[in-house]
Symmetry: C2
Subunit: 186 residues, 2 copies
DNA sequence: ACGTTAAACGGACCGATGGTCCGAATCGTA
DNA sequence: TACGATTCGGACCATCGGTCCGTTTAACGT
């Protein structure tokens, strides 16, 4: 990849990140806006990312990677010998925090049309992980659907709708949900 | 309301219903399409329903009402002396069926942008009902959030994503989820 | 250094869509 | 039937995602 291409790619990602982060409604961030903020022509933008969905996906995956690194780094000991329910609670909590910290971007991703929340590498990853933990905790019976249900409970527009709840209440709700689903609450 | 206005309103609702029902992607149904199919000018369409969201909401509420009537009618005896968990299972099952039968329309409603799935009379109604049943079944602790979570599990795009599952599997999954959340599985 | 070439640039341009406007047509009423 | 209020309808507008192509520029061989 040519040097200017790489430079522009970075500029676009950074500009788009700022725009989405400071937007209430992700739909209000137009491709023209992104191009202008990045100091780049529209042609460049679309050649690099294909379309709006591609840009949003790229940005989302960038942040997801960053989160994965962070949580891995702070995971420290990692104590693999751990209750799957606790592991699931921690995973869901991390996901919830991610959704809160990336409200607008997550909403942008989930509202792309065409079942996009599910046609997504990150979703597949999470669903696999949650399914495995549920299967471990309560058997594989309906683990597949239950995993979808858990993930649906932290969908960004729901989190957004509950934006005036204190974070702790949301977190407690999610934990309660996870423990209930895993077979034995408290 | 003038007679022609009422007639046109009906024509629009019926045409829009047909169009959404036969569409795979609700976004592919344009306001022009609706106006043309209803044999009405665009001005009429927008004056009556305000905007696209208004039309979709009107249509959705129409169907929701129809479903409410039907389920009430067939509810028959109504046996109020009933386990709240069973009642909740039945309610969620009805909602799931509604989402399946109105796939495109539900998706249209849920993908309006601006937290629209939640800014909706029907959602408030369902959430209240589910919250009450959960509170009755397992206490009012996190009932509010758990109700949101249950409703999220039957969101139309998830149902759509799982379209190739047999209906029975979906139904079983929802029932399993409800019973788990209500405190005691099986 | 310099010329060559393939790649990237950028913004004018396009088609579609949601939404507006206003002269024409129509309904209800006296 | 005549008249005023209401509604109709489609031409019109702004915006947005996406394309196109003449121009620029980075990379590399000589």
């Amino acid at each position: 990849m040519r040097a200017d291409a790489a430079r522009n790619r970075e500029a676009v990602l950074q500009a788009a990140g700022l725009l989405f982060d400071s937007a209430d409604d992700p739909a209000a961030v137009s491709m023209d806006d992104v191009a202008a903020a990045a100091g780049v022509g529209k042609g460049t933008l679309f050649r690099r990312f294909g379309d709006r969905a591609g840009l949003i996906r790229a940005l989302y995956e960038l942040r997801a990677e960053r989160m994965a690194e962070e949580s891995e780094a702070e995971g420290g000991g990692d104590g693999a010998a751990d209750d799957p329910v606790d592991a699931l609670v921690r995973a869901m909590d991390a996901l919830l925090r991610f959704k809160i910290e990336n409200r607008a971007l997550s909403r942008a991703l989930e509202s792309l049309g065409g079942g996009s929340p599910y046609t997504n590498a990150a979703y597949g990853h999470w669903h696999g992980r949650v399914t495995a933990l549920i299967a471990e905790a309560r058997g594989p019976e309906a683990a597949d659907f239950l995993a979808h249900a858990l993930l649906a409970a932290v969908r960004s527009d729901l989190v957004d709708h509950l934006a005036d709840w204190p974070d702790a209440r949301l977190k407690a709700g999610v934990e309660e949900l996870v423990r209930s689903v895993c077979g034995r609450g408290a």
